[in-house]
Every structure is written in structure tokens, then in C-alpha cells.
């Protein structure tokens, strides 16, 4: 009987244990949640963070039917967004498919002398904005070919009659002669000619006005019919040939200069940092017309260098050095960018999880600096035991410290992060203490008693020197925000940052 009671008690206990632990498990288990309490969709969170009434499944979101990622097609704009969960797409009343739908297929959208590699619906929208008819070509399968397809189109003066007057439109040959443009009938195309050419006998003539064209860097003269002529050059304002024949960029004024803020030359070059802008926006004006090559470059930046518009470069302004295994606490890498004459800074990830790298591209127009925030690959430094593996730049960003080891007497050197990762040392629940503890070392120094009294150091005597303590501190500082470090402002901590404790123990051997 007692045995039965014991068995029942044991079964009940087991049941209770399973129930309670199951309950605990149910609360803490990560689930795919359709909507979290923070109102964010399709997140893998503990189930208690799921919003009331939200769908949830104890598996990864990618495995669920409601949060599976796919293509969301916005039929109004003709845009496709990949990696979109079904539920998010449905909530926006857009159509979702797991695989790419045909409507998302890209093709070459030719819009006059411009091109875009977009879906068909998007092409129609762009054509509507420009007020022209689009030519969509699905046979062109990449963006580069698409852009190239509109370059080198033959341009010239398209002369036709309108309201009993001989008028002209500066356009491509295909636009002039294909009949796609309803307003142009019985037109004659004059290749390489401008509408203001006197020999054409049209109503279009030269003016002192200028214009900016979509997709073009330069300022163009404008004829009396509103057509663009050649690139603005104040010295050619009355030059008949300049108003008659098309001149290339290289045949125009200042072809290899940026011509930023030039009053007389409109040969702006975006790669060199100038672009056609309204004089009011640019803050200065040209000798003729309302436009000028606005100077977009940055002069005398924070590091006292000048940069072109679009150039980026790395800046480290914090205290201490980088790349030596002892980066200051709270230090951060920065990428600076020159945008429209303004120096804009972009932080790399905090806790030194990213570092800034930069290089220069040499072009025919000079060098161009480019920088990027790149992941700091320090994570597996401490487990490398060979110098060659440690310094393998293809895999990691580590530094080999010769002569010292992470653990005393465990190797000929230590592999540590080049730029030490930051730690949340102020957070009592963080892992800073355990990380820093990895650099703890115990060194047993053996003394030998002399025959006539006194002691003589026999083993590990170097551990008693100041240089050993310094080496251990170096290791400590190299693994994270540990040891006696300075912060990003160059200030030392209030405490030493490490302890050297010497205690005696007697043993016979």
C-alpha cells in the first residue's frame, strides 16, 4: 500500500514538474510572432512579447505561412519589394507571391534620350511624368546595356510646319521621323544641326537665355523656341557657327575643368563637382541667363583637405591609436562624405563593431576617395594560436603580440583584436566582467631556501617584475574595454583597472 502511495506521489510530482516546466518553457520560448507588443511584424521573440490576438508559431518566421518572405507587388507604382512577409504585404492591400511574379520582371524603358531598367508599369508611370511616349524593350536584360542603348543616338534639328510657321524641335532622329510624336508631321531631320541655325529658316533664333536639362550636368543655351542649343559659353553668344552646329562637350569651353561658379562657361562636370543649378539656389550668377555651374565640392574640411562632391574618407578623431590592440573606450570610427559642399559624417557601428576603410580610385579626371564602414572581424582572434592564422587578413582583423600569452606559459604569443571591441562595462548584467576575466593570470613563482637562510627565486621570476605586470595589462586592454585604458577623450579611469596580488604559500617539494 505504501508502495502504491509512493508511486502515485512520484507520478504526481513528475506530472507537476512537467506541467510547471512546460509552462515556464511556453512563456520563454521564442516564437514567430505576427505582431509584437511593440507593433512590429514578423519577429522571432519570446511568446510573451506577442501582441494579444496575434498569430504565433513556435518556429522561425521563415517557416511560417503568414511570415514567409516573398515578393510584394505594388500595382499602383509598379514597384516590387522582395523579402517582404506575406502578412505585411496583405495589410497594405498589395499582392504577395512567394516567387518573383512576371510583373516584377525588368526591362529597358527608353524615355527620349534617357533610359531606366524597370518593370513595365513603372516605365509607363515615368513616361507619364515626362509627358512622352515610352519605348519598352524586354530583350535588354541588364541595366548597363539599357543605359548604353540610348547613348549615341543621332540628334539634330527636326524641322516641321506648325500653324503656318516653319518651326523646329531639337530631338533624336527616331523621335523626329518615326511619327510617334503626334505634334510633328511631315518633318525633315537635319543631323548635327541646331534649331537656331539660320540656314534652316525656322522661327527659332538665338537668345541670351540658358537652361538646365534633365539628366545632363551642363548649362545649355536656349533658343527662342525653347530648344536647347550648345553648352553655354559667354564668348560665343553671338557666334553664328556655335548657334548652328552641335558641339560636343570636349569642343566646348573648359572641357577638363569643373567650371564651378564660372560666370562665362557652362560646361559643368558632375564628377568634378559642378552641376547646372538655378542661380538663386547656387547663390551666384553667370554673365548671361539664370543658371550657373554650382560648385558642389567641399573645401578645407575637418582634416583640412578638400574633397569632391560624392567623395568619402575615414576620420578617427578620438584619443589613442587604432590598429594597435588598444583602442580607447567609447572610441568610434567615422566616415565623412562631401555632399553638395557640405561635410556630412556617418558613424560606423558603436562598440567598434565596425571600422572605417578607405581607398582612392584613379580616374582620367584625377583620384577619387571612397570610404566604407566595414565589420570589425575580431571575434575569433583569441582562439588563434599561430601567428600566420592570426594575421590572415582574409579572415580576421587580429594582431599577434609576440612574447606574451593569453594564459601564462601557454604559447609564444597572443592573438588579439587589432581594434578592441567595446563592452557594456556599466551594465551589471553584461558580460564585461567575464570577458575581462579571460586575461586573469596566476603565476606561481618558486623560491628556494638557501642552506644558510634566505630565499632565491627559482621559477617564473619574471612574474615579479614591473614589465610582466605591464604585459598582462596589455593583454587585458587588448581583449576589450578592460585594464587601465583611457577613454575616447583621453581621460584615464578613476581606478587602476587591474590588480597584482602577491600572496605567499609554503610547499615542500
Amino acid at each position: 500500500m505504501n508502495k502504491h502511495k509512493l508511486l502515485i506521489f512520484a507520478l504526481l510530482s513528475l506530472f507537476l514538474f512537467v506541467f510547471v516546466s512546460g509552462g515556464v518553457f511556453a512563456v520563454n520560448a521564442t516564437v514567430c510572432c505576427q505582431k509584437t507588443t511593440s507593433n512590429l511584424y514578423c519577429q522571432n521573440v519570446p511568446s510573451d512579447q506577442c501582441a494579444a490576438g496575434s498569430l504565433q508559431t513556435p518556429s522561425a518566421c521563415s517557416q511560417t505561412s503568414f511570415c514567409k518572405a516573398g515578393y510584394c507587388y505594388d500595382s499602383r507604382q509598379g514597384n516590387c519589394m522582395s523579402n517582404t512577409p506575406k502578412v505585411v504585404c496583405d495589410l497594405n492591400n498589395e499582392s504577395w507571391t512567394e516567387t518573383e511574379p512576371a510583373s516584377c520582371g525588368l526591362g529597358c524603358c527608353i524615355l527620349g534620350d534617357q533610359a531606366a531598367f524597370v518593370p513595365l508599369v513603372r516605365c509607363k508611370i515615368l513616361a507619364g511624368f515626362l509627358g512622352i511616349q515610352a519605348n519598352y524593350n524586354k530583350q535588354i536584360t541588364n541595366e548597363v546595356s539599357c543605359v548604353l542603348s540610348v547613348q549615341g543616338q543621332v540628334k539634330g534639328a527636326c524641322v516641321y510646319e506648325s500653324e503656318f510657321e516653319k518651326t523646329c524641335k531639337f530631338t533624336t532622329m527616331s523621335d523626329c521621323t518615326s511619327g510617334s510624336n503626334a505634334s510633328i508631321t511631315n518633318a525633315t531631320f537635319y543631323k548635327g544641326k541646331l534649331c537656331s541655325a539660320p540656314e534652316l529658316g525656322t522661327i527659332c533664333g538665338k537668345t541670351k537665355e540658358t537652361m538646365c536639362l534633365p539628366g545632363k550636368d551642363e548649362i545649355y543655351f536656349k533658343d527662342s523656341c525653347g530648344n536647347p542649343a550648345n553648352i553655354y559659353d559667354a564668348s560665343k553668344i553671338n557666334d553664328v557657327d556655335y548657334w548652328s552646329n552641335i558641339k560636343t562637350k570636349l569642343e566646348s569651353c573648359g572641357p577638363s575643368a569643373s567650371n564651378g561658379n564660372s560666370k562665362s562657361c557652362g560646361n559643368c562636370n558632375y564628377l568634378l563637382g559642378s552641376f547646372c543649378r538655378d542661380s538663386k539656389d547656387a547663390g551666384s550668377s553667370a554673365s548671361y541667363g539664370d543658371n550657373i555651374c554650382a560648385d558642389l565640392n567641399c573645401k578645407n574640411t575637418q582634416n583640412r583637405n578638400s574633397y569632391k562632391h560624392g567623395e568619402s574618407w575615414c576620420v578617427y578623431n578620438d584619443a589613442g591609436k587604432t590598429g594597435t590592440g588598444n583602442t580607447a573606450v567609447g572610441a568610434r570610427f567615422y566616415k565623412h562624405i562631401c555632399i553638395n559642399g557640405e561635410e556630412v559624417l556617418e558613424q560606423c557601428a558603436d562598440f567598434k563593431q565596425e571600422e572605417c576603410i578607405e581607398d582612392k580610385i584613379n580616374t582620367s579626371l584625377g583620384s577619387f576617395s571612397q570610404a566604407a564602414c566595414r565589420v570589425n572581424r575580431w571575434q575569433d582572434c583569441l582562439v588563434q594560436t599561430e601567428k600566420q592564422d592570426c594575421e590572415n587578413l582574409d579572415k580576421r582583423d587580429c594582431l599577434w603580440k609576440e612574447g606574451i600569452a593569453l594564459n601564462v606559459n601557454s604559447g609564444s604569443g597572443a592573438c588579439v583584436p587589432k581594434n578592441t571591441p567595446g563592452l557594456k562595462f556599466w551594465d551589471s548584467e553584461g558580460d564585461a566582467s567575464s570577458v575581462c576575466a579571460q586575461a586573469n593570470a596566476q603565476c606561481v613563482v618558486k623560491f628556494e631556501k638557501g642552506l644558510f637562510g634566505g630565499e632565491k627565486c627559482k621559477d617564473n621570476c619574471e612574474c615579479l617584475t614591473d614589465s610582466w605586470a605591464k604585459q598582462r595589462n596589455d593583454i587585458c586592454m587588448a581583449i576589450g574595454d578592460c585594464g587601465s585604458k583611457i577613454n575616447w577623450l583621453g581621460d584615464k579611469g578613476y581606478k587602476t583597472g587591474y590588480n597584482v596580488t602577491i600572496s605567499a604559500s609554503s610547499s615542500k617539494s
Binding site: 511593440s38 507593433n39 511584424y41 512577409p85 505585411v88 498589395e94 553638395n340 558613424q347 557601428a349
Partner: protein, 276 residues
Amino acid sequence: MEKHNDYKLKNPVDRMEKGSKMAKKGQMAIFIIVAIAIVALILLIAFYPRIRSVVTGGELTSSNFIKSCIGSDVQTNMELMNNQGGYISPEGFYVYNGKKLKFLCYTNEYYKTCVVQDPAVVSHYEKELANAIKSKAAQCYADMKTQYQKQGYSVSGILRDVKVELTDKSVNVLFDAPLSISKESTSTYNGVTIQIDSKIYNLLSIVQSIVEFEAYYGDSETTNYIQYYPDLKIEKIKQSDGTKVYKVSDVISKEEFDFASRSLSWPPGYEGVNAK
């Protein structure tokens, strides 16, 4: 006595001077009144068509009235939406400088790319703005009808819907409101469209592209966009928790759109290194 005489002698002269001064002042006042009248007449002649367009019938009147009535409301709502990632009352946001920035792409995890939270930025913006101005639009439509009735017109029509359409140069507010106005003759209109200059469409298109990059690669390269769009400025401000605050603006129109994203972030220190 002399003093008295002096007074007597001086007094008529003073009075004469005073009288002539008053006469001059009177003339001046007349001249000023006449000048004001002439200026008013010139102004009336110059702006007569515009004044007339507000008080008489016609589509121009309707759109002018509606634009003056709802224009500031559209601008205010757009400003609010632009400051909050395209939402009037964002849910799932990051607080930055007191502003609630909607997460357009988000993951709560480390080492993972984000999950898209708004797949159709432009279309959503259009719907959100249309909803935000709906009540004001109804009020403006009613006010317009009242205005016509005060002018002696007989007006019939209802506001069926208000839609917003973004284009590369403007924000178009479309009033789906058939309207019939009659006095001596009858005019009918299908609706009213008002246009407000804005570059928000271009900014939203860039935002959509950034979100796609965030979801696919975990980050976006802002300098790539600058190479293609001269008027664009993008600021990316990385926060300690891995959140990125984006500020996308047009340097010419000065319009700005701010939003947040959290994608492919790393924890501080060694947390999760083994789990990875």
C-alpha cells in the same frame, strides 16, 4: 503795454500762418485720399479677374477655393508624416530627438537582416495623407458650396472621396466630387484637383530603395545614391543599439523624410559570439 501790442501785432500773423498751414494740410489730405483712390482703382483693375474668379463660378474658382482652404492642412500633415517615416501615428517606432521614427524595416535579432515593415512606401504615403486630410476636405467642400449659395448660386453635389497622388514634381489632391452650379446657366464638374509643388515622390522612391537594400544586404551605401541624384542628401546616423536613423532630403526644395531601420546589427562585446 509793448508786450501787449506786440501780442496784438503778432497774433494776426500767427493766425494767418496757422490758417495757411491748415489749408496746406487739407490739400495734402485730399491729395493723399485721391492717390489712395487711384492706387485702389489700379489694383482693382489689375486683380479684377482674380477677385472675380473667387466670387463667380467655374472650375478655377473651385480649385482656388479648395487650395486656399486645404493647402496648409496638406502641408502640415506632410511635414508630420515626413518627420515620422510617412505615418501620422506611427506604430513600431524609434524615438530620436523626440520624434517617433517609424521602423520601415526591423529585426529584433543580432546578425540578421531586417523584415520589411512597409513594402509600398509611396502608395502608403498617398493613402495616409488622404486619410489625414479627409475631414478637412469635407469641411472645405461644404464651405465652398455655402460660398456659392451666398453668391446666389444653386449648388448640388457630394464629396464621394478624396485621393492623393504623388508625382515627381507635385502632390495632387483629387476631390472625387461631382458638382453642379447653376444661376442663369448650369455648369457641371466631375471633381476638383489641386496641385502642391513637392519633391516628396523622389525622396520616397529613394527611401523604398534603401529599405530594399536594408532587407537584402543589411545596410545601404548612401554615396551610391549621391552619384546618381545631384539634389539628394542622405544622412545615416547609427545608434548604439544597431538602429539606423535615415534623413533623406532634397537640397533644393529642402524637403526631408526621416525613418528608422534596424538590420544586421552586432551586440556589444562578446555577447552572442558563440551563438553566431
